[in-house]
Symmetry: C2
Subunit: 404 residues, 2 copies
């Protein structure tokens, strides 16, 4: 059932930022292989941000790859942690969530994470299960496993302490709870972004203090968004959501900057390291990045939307952007990408002399005289949200492109 441990390690290592530590991981893989027992992989999810994008999915994909190798995942919803939030409401970071809100968020989580994970090899747990039973005395025993000095070594705490920005004492419990959860779940491996280093390593410390085998910490790099600079994030609008329509997802992947193509192959697909090596060679040999990106868009869109929808999306993309002749040198308008509808920006079209008046524009739409990404624009389409590089066209000569 299980592949050779060294072969597994090659796949697991793909794209990781760091593994602490690799030797211990190999030991666990050996044991798992000998006993034909899956390793337990833990991932904690914060129930306050239920909209998953490819940036969040980096860790999920890594887990999926390990599930494909035969291992078992536990998705731990931090409902208790979410409920604590910031009880004073002073800090803007976390706010306490109601039980209903947490459950509602968890439901949308399920829908999204199983777009990546293998449901058969996944258990979902909630940490309130054990944390809500803990007494004051239990909490103090947990608190006593660490020290103030150790906590203030965490980057963000240190910065806030030095800059006199208040740290609530309850905040020290987030890493402690995360560590305790690992003990409770007997985690063999915990996944996290590099921003989770302190918290994940605390799990190792606590397990070690209790005489248990230490979990392996696997840290994944943060994935830059479509701007190629900032970490992918909903608020920066540089994201590709796992719930996007195939057409939108395909088009968005085509917007990934060329320099990030390999990174996206590593972090946003399950391709084998050997395949990625081939991609790197092709780029090095001067192949057009656009063609490689087309493959990336196919792979990613198929992962989330299935082959059929991917095919349709690809066809649409090629019809709209590749085969039809849209000149490259056309006027552009800056708009709030992903927010504004076509109907909203008619005044901008007038200002940019694309049409004379609103009534002219609406008349042209009715007469099927306006194209949107090379397809006829209907009245219903006026509600469509504008994405980056969308193009409006009247006749053969009037074009306008939208950019963020």
């Amino acid at each position: 059932m299980f592949k050779e441990p060294k072969e597994q390690l090659e796949m697991i290592k793909k794209g990781t930022h760091s593994i602490i530590d690799e030797g211990e991981l190999l030991k666990k893989l050996n044991r798992s292989h000998n006993e034909q027992q899956p390793l337990i992989i833990k991932l904690g999810l914060d129930p306050s941000a239920p909209d998953i994008h490819l940036g969040h999915a980096v860790v999920l994909r890594k887990i999926k790859q390990m599930q494909d190798l035969g291992h078992h995942a536990i998705i731990l919803i931090g409902d208790f942690t979410g409920r604590i939030g910031d009880p004073t409401g002073k800090a803007k970071g976390r706010s306490a969530l109601s039980d209903e809100k947490v459950k509602e968020n968890a439901k949308t989580y399920y829908e999204q994470i199983f777009k990546v994970l293998d449901q058969e090899k996944t258990t979902v747990r909630f940490n309130s299960e054990w944390l809500s039973k803990m007494t004051f005395e239990d909490v103090m025993k947990l608190a006593a496993t660490s020290s103030v000095t150790r906590m203030l070594e965490r980057d963000d705490f240190q910065k806030r302490y030095k800059n006199n920005i208040s740290i609530g004492i309850q905040e020290f419990f987030y890493p402690l709870i995360q560590a305790h959860d690992s003990v409770e779940l007997k985690a063999d491996i915990e996944l996290g972004g590099t921003d989770q280093t302190f918290n994940v390593l605390m799990g190792r410390t606590l397990q070690n203090q209790l005489g248990l085998e230490k979990q392996i910490a696997i840290f994944m790099p943060l994935l830059e968004g479509l701007d190629g600079v900032e970490k992918m994030s909903k608020s920066l609008k540089n994201y590709i959501g796992v719930n996007e329509e195939a057409e939108v997802m395909f088009k968005k992947v085509m917007e990934v900057p060329d320099k990030l193509i390999v990174k996206y192959f590593e972090l946003a697909t399950d391709e084998h390291p050997k395949e990625i090596e081939k991609i790197q060679n092709r780029i090095a040999l001067g192949e057009n990045p656009r063609d490689i990106k087309l493959e990336l868009a196919e792979i990613i869109t198929a992962l989330y939307c299935g082959e059929k929808k991917m095919d349709e999306a690809k066809q649409y993309f090629q019809t709209a952007f590749q085969k039809k002749l849209i000149p490259s040198n056309i006027p552009t308008i800056l708009v709030e990408i992903g927010q504004e509808k076509i109907a909203d920006i008619i005044p901008l079209l007038i200002k940019n002399q694309f049409v004379k008046s609103k009534s002219e524009f609406l008349r042209l739409v009715k007469q099927e005289g306006v194209s949107f990404n090379s397809s006829k624009l209907t009245e219903d389409d006026l509600d469509r949200v504008i994405m980056n590089n969308d193009v409006l066209q009247i006749g053969k000569k009037r074009f306008i492109r939208f950019e963020k």
Copy 2:
């Protein structure tokens, strides 16, 4: 029933280090007077140190004075706090106590505190009553009422943090628990030594955050022990225990250094400030401090042992040390006061040429030729523990005095 608030305030202020704040206290006294309702005075006691001496009794006496003014005391035994202790066993400060040990200690507390307090006007509570019911979530809400920066302002935490001496996170909960206890008990006043400043003021902060009337903090000075320098403490052997025999207590008070006479009147008796003023005048006019100390010894011994035993102790003291002629200029031996018995130090007597041999000494005792503090020394007396200034005598000329 209640005296005039200003008159009460005069008595309450006696000997205090500070009151935060006096204006608020007067308001509370006024309300209590108008409504004929006693104020609630809280004192927390740590169940780990059950042997009470006059140093501990400083706060108890202050409470007794307020009870005499009509107010009600709540003695809060920190059994929960004691149980937390230091769960890791790393810090040497506090160690976790078993439930039985806490209860055993509490019993000995009762016996001792009611040597000072008015039992009718005292309620004893244990903080485990409410703390053991708190959930993790409750604990986090409590934690969130303060911040790391605020905690590290506490002198001892600050020093330890700067000197890289580990502070367990659970230690931050001592002040928080103490504050929460005040909320639970609706305390009007909390008493404490000056070393309790941070913790008692945290009670005010928390009450204020919860929209409750703030408790008044009354801080009492630390009482120096018989050496006149160090804080009274059992380990330094400079203490007068509240459970001492009348004879021992009387004699120990007579050992109080002259410069501390007034402070002992202020902190170790319930004398009215006007009486203390008279004492100060008598000292200023050159009266022999020994005579004033004799009054102090009478008052203190009577407070703890009753008038009758005090009378006997006084008579014994005067017989032994004042009326009989023991020359002042006699040889002295340093011994472990309060620890060694007469039988133990015979080798020292030989070394100091008080007797030639053990057999000579025992023979002289049998023949009633040895006096101890001017009384005949019997064979049974060989088991007596030696106290400071005890004197052994053989015939008219051989004397030896014991000192620490």
